[in-house]
Symmetry: C2
Subunit: 318 residues, 2 copies
C-alpha cells in the first residue's frame, strides 16, 4: 500500500500521521515540540515516530514521501525562518536534515498553504484550480492557488494577506508593526480588539463590560451574539464588513472561484459568513459579481493539518 | 520558417504583425478599428491582413497560431466583454469567430497580460517565474505571473489591480466607481488629478496654475519636475509613495521577484521609480525586504504590443 507521512509542526505539539490517497489518516501520534530544543534530537524523534507508525500498519508499506506544515516555512528553500513560537532560532534547514534520516521526497510549507492543498485534494476545493484559503486563528494566514498550483512566490513566502494594510491611515498595528494590517481586525485577536472598540464607541450595556481583554474568548463572543448582545452583534458586523471588503479587493488579484474560511473564527458560522458575503458582493467589480463563492472548509476534522501536509506529496501523484 | 501572428486590438487602431521565435516583428500593418463596426467584416479584414503579411515574407511559412491583446478580454472564454472603447457591444466571441476563418490555435488576453507574457519571453523578465507587470496608461492595468504562468483567475479576469481600493475611507472615485481605487492615483489621469490636488493644497506658484485640467499632459509634468516646479515635484512624490506602498502590499499576495512598470508614466523614469522604490522597501514585511525589484520594461519599442500578443502562442512552444 502506498502511504504519505503528514507532519504538523506547532509551537506546542508535533502531530504525525500516515495518510492514504483519499486523505484518510490511518494511524497517528504526537509529542510535545518544546521537549526537543535540539533540532537533531527533534528530527531523530520524528524519524522514530514515523518508523513506529509504519510498524503499526499490518500490510507492506511504500512511503512515497513526507509533507510538513510549519510556521514561517519556505517551500522553495525547505527551511523554517525566524518562527516566533518555535525554539529553533534563525534559519532552520529542516527538509535537508530530515532527508539525511529518511531518503524520500520531503516538502514543507506554512500552515495556510497546507490548508489550501488539503482543501484542493481532500476538501471542498476538489476540482477547483483558482481559490484562496483564509485561516483565522490568533492571526490571519492565507494559501493561494492559481492554475491548480500553490502561489509560492519568489522564495516561498507568498500569501501573507494577514499583513496586507487595508486601513493605511488610522489603522490598528499588527504584531509585525503593519499599520492597518488585515489580521489586526479579522482573526481571534482582532475580534477581541473589536469588542473593546465597540465598548468604547457605544454606551449600551453588554456582558463584555465585566470581562477583561485577557479573559475574552471567541466562543463567548459567538454565544453573546446568539443571545442578542449589542456589542457582540456590532463586533461581528464590523469584522464581517472588513473581511468582505478585503475579499472583494483581493479578487482583483487572482479572481478566485472561491474563498474558504478555516479556523476558530470561521466556526462562528453565519455571524462571520453573512456580513462578509454581503459586503464582498457589494464591493466586487461588476465583472466579478455573482462569480465568487465564500465557503467553509471541507476539512473540519482533527487530522486536517496532518492530512493537508500529506497532500503536499499526494498532489504530485494525482 | 515558423511564425506567429500578433494582434493588438485598440480602440483606435488594430495592429497586426508576424513575429518570430525571438520576438522580432518581421512584417506589420495596421488599420482603423472603428471603420469596422460590424464584427464579421472586422474579422474578414483581420484574415485579409494576415494573408497579405504572409505573402510579403519570401520563405515558406508555418503559422503556428495567433495571439491577441484586447481590452476586457477573457483568456478563459476567448471573448471580449463590455469594452467601453470598442464599438462591438456585449460579449463578443472573438476567438471562436476568428477560428472559423483561420484554423490555427488562437489565444486572447487583456493588454496588461500581453505585456507580462511579452516581458517573460522577450523582455526583462526572461528567466523569472514570479513577477508582476503594471501598465500605466489612462488607467492602471496589471499582468501577474506565478509559477511561470499567467494568473488568469476563474474566468480570465484576474489582475485588475487598478481597481484595488487602496484608500477606502476618503478616496478618489475611479471610472468604475471604486472609491480609492489605485488607478485614480497611479496612472496618467491620476497624475493629472494629483496636480490639481497639490494646487489646492499649496499656495506656491507653478506653471500649472495657468493650465486647465483638460490641457494637462504627463510629459509636461515630467518636464516641470526637471525644472524644479514645486507642484510637479510634490505630484511625483505623492504618486510614487502611493505606488510604492501598494506594491509592498501586493507583495503579500504573490511575493514577486520583480514589479515592472510599463507605459507613459513609467517613461518619466526616476521621478516615479525613485519614490516608489523608497516607499515600497520601507513598507515591505521583514521577510520580503531587499528581495523585490522594481524595474522598467525591456519591451520599449513600437511593436511591444504585437510581439507580446504573439508571445501568448510562442510560450506554448518554448
Amino acid at each position: 500500500m502506498e502511504i504519505v507521512a503528514g507532519i504538523d509542526i506547532g509551537g506546542t505539539k508535533t502531530k504525525i500521521g500516515l495518510v492514504n490517497k483519499s486523505g484518510e489518516c490511518l494511524v497517528k501520534t504526537n509529542f510535545r515540540t518544546k521537549e526537543y530544543p535540539d533540532l537533531e534530537k527533534y528530527l531523530d524523534k520524528v524519524k522514530l515516530s514515523i518508523d513506529e507508525l509504519t510498524e503499526k500498519l499490518s500490510s507492506d508499506m511504500d512511503l512515497l514521501g513526507i509533507g510538513i506544515g510549519a510556521p514561517n516555512a519556505s517551500s522553495r528553500l525547505g527551511t523554517i525562518e525566524h518562527a516566533s513560537n518555535l525554539l529553533w532560532k534563525g534559519t532552520v534547514p529542516l527538509v535537508a536534515k530530515l532527508r539525511e534520516r529518511i531518503d524520500v521526497p520531503i516538502k514543507i510549507t506554512n500552515d495556510a498553504n497546507v490548508a489550501a492543498i488539503g482543501e484542493m485534494l481532500f476538501g471542498n476545493a476538489k476540482g477547483m484550480s483558482d481559490f484562496v484559503v483564509i485561516t483565522l486563528g490568533t492571526g490571519l494566514g492565507s494559501g493561494i492557488v492559481s492554475n491548480g498550483k500553490l502561489v509560492d512566490g519568489y522564495d516561498g513566502f507568498a500569501g501573507e494577506l494577514g499583513h496586507f494594510a487595508i486601513m493605511p491611515e488610522d489603522g490598528r498595528m499588527t504584531g509585525l508593526q503593519v499599520k492597518g494590517g488585515l489580521e489586526a481586525y479579522v482573526s481571534a485577536t482582532g475580534l477581541k480588539r473589536t469588542v473593546l472598540y465597540m465598548l468604547s464607541k457605544y454606551m449600551e450595556d453588554s456582558r463584555f463590560r465585566n470581562i477583561a481583554f485577557n479573559d475574552l474568548h471567541g466562543e463567548e463572543i459567538t454565544q453573546a451574539a446568539e443571545e442578542g448582545d449589542f456589542i457582540a452583534l456590532k463586533t461581528y458586523e464590523y469584522t464581517g464588513e472588513i473581511l468582505g471588503k478585503a475579499l472583494a479587493n483581493f479578487t482583483t488579484f487572482s479572481q478566485p472561484e472561491a474563498f474558504f474560511l478555516v479556523g476558530g473564527l470561521a466556526l462562528s458560522g453565519k455571524w462571520i459568513f453573512d456580513p462578509a458575503k454581503k459586503h464582498m458582493e457589494e464591493n466586487l467589480l461588476q465583472v466579478y459579481k455573482g462569480k465568487v463563492k465564500l465557503l467553509p472548509s471541507g476539512m473540519l476534522n482533527k487530522t486536517a493539518a496532518v492530512s493537508g501536509a500529506a497532500a503536499l506529496i499526494w498532489s504530485d501523484f494525482t
